[in-house]
Assembly symmetry: C2
Homo-oligomer: 157 residues x 2
DNA sequence: GAGGATTGTCAGTGCAACATACAATAACAT
DNA sequence: ATGTTATTGTATGTTGCACTGACAATCCTC
């Protein structure tokens, strides 16, 4: 069967640089998802050597800021449920970045604390975060950054 | 890698209702992730009956806007890779919401089009999206919404 | 002490992002 | 035309993470 070079109806008139997404463009949630995706991608690129995810860094960071924190408290601050939190804590514990301890005040609770390795990893991660943030903030003035954070906070708080 | 010991807030005592997240608060990426999480959670709540994810709705929507679109083109517009796109298209196809067809112009390509069921699901989804968007936009003035979208676009475009 | 709530754990499910490999096809250089 | 390279879709496997529902231990209230 010969293949005539049929120049039929071009599927979508696909002009170079045509990335129009139509009416969906006006949907805020859509842009949040795309922005999150772009941010996440750049994050993982920046963190290839360190091999930590956004979530994991955030958890390390919060534990460092709040020693002896309980998993439920951590979950609450991160807006995660208990099961998800446990999965992340498990991963971090397996890698020797944190230790679980017994709470003195409530025997149901576990205290979470970083190990030296965890603190070390967090320090490296914070450097990488600064790099990542520079990439992110390069699009905005200081005032815009402030406004963006404020608006995003209105969504998640 | 001698790094000046960061002078951090002393261990924040844990008062009732203390949800402070410390210095991490100034990290834009952190807020994007939290806002995305909050948005995603509300989305899934709004969509329990319809049983579609953000991603799936976006794909249906884009296919509806661009009939005969190829998977690669779709992937590009959604900022996904081919494998991820295929997984989503497969799921949607299994549920009878779209069909793959042969492209007339390039036999490597598949054309994607919605079925009637797909169009129906999309119509319902759009209603739910409006509801979801109302929830999202209730925090902002029209002008702020516009600014937020513009800023988020700067990140993902 | 009994009943209810909280905390951590565990098992299972689903989505989605990634990498890798492969076959078919198209595009291109010579 | 021929061989090389690029593109497109597919298949497979891994990882992360969010959710559900169940469970035991513990705490709190009455």
């Amino acid at each position: 069967m010969a293949r005539p070079k049929e120049t039929l109806v071009p599927t979508t008139p696909h002009v170079e640089g045509d990335e129009d997404i139509g009416e969906i463009r006006s949907i805020v949630g859509f842009h949040i998802r795309l922005a999150h995706g772009a941010t996440y991608r750049h994050f993982t690129e920046t963190f290839t050597d360190i091999d930590l995810t956004q979530k994991q860094v955030s958890v390390l960071w919060l534990i460092d800021d709040h020693p002896d924190i309980a998993q439920t408290d951590l979950a609450h601050r991160m807006r995660m449920d208990r099961a998800t939190t446990m999965a992340i804590v498990n991963r971090l514990q397996d890698r020797g970045y944190l230790v679980r301890g017994a709470s003195l005040t409530d025997r149901r609770k576990q205290t979470l604390n970083l190990t030296d390795a965890g603190r070390d990893a967090l320090a490296k991660a914070k450097d990488a975060i600064l790099e990542h943030e520079r990439w992110l903030k390069s699009r905005f003035t200081d005032q815009e950054v402030e406004m963006l954070i404020e608006m995003l906070t209105r969504i998640h708080e």
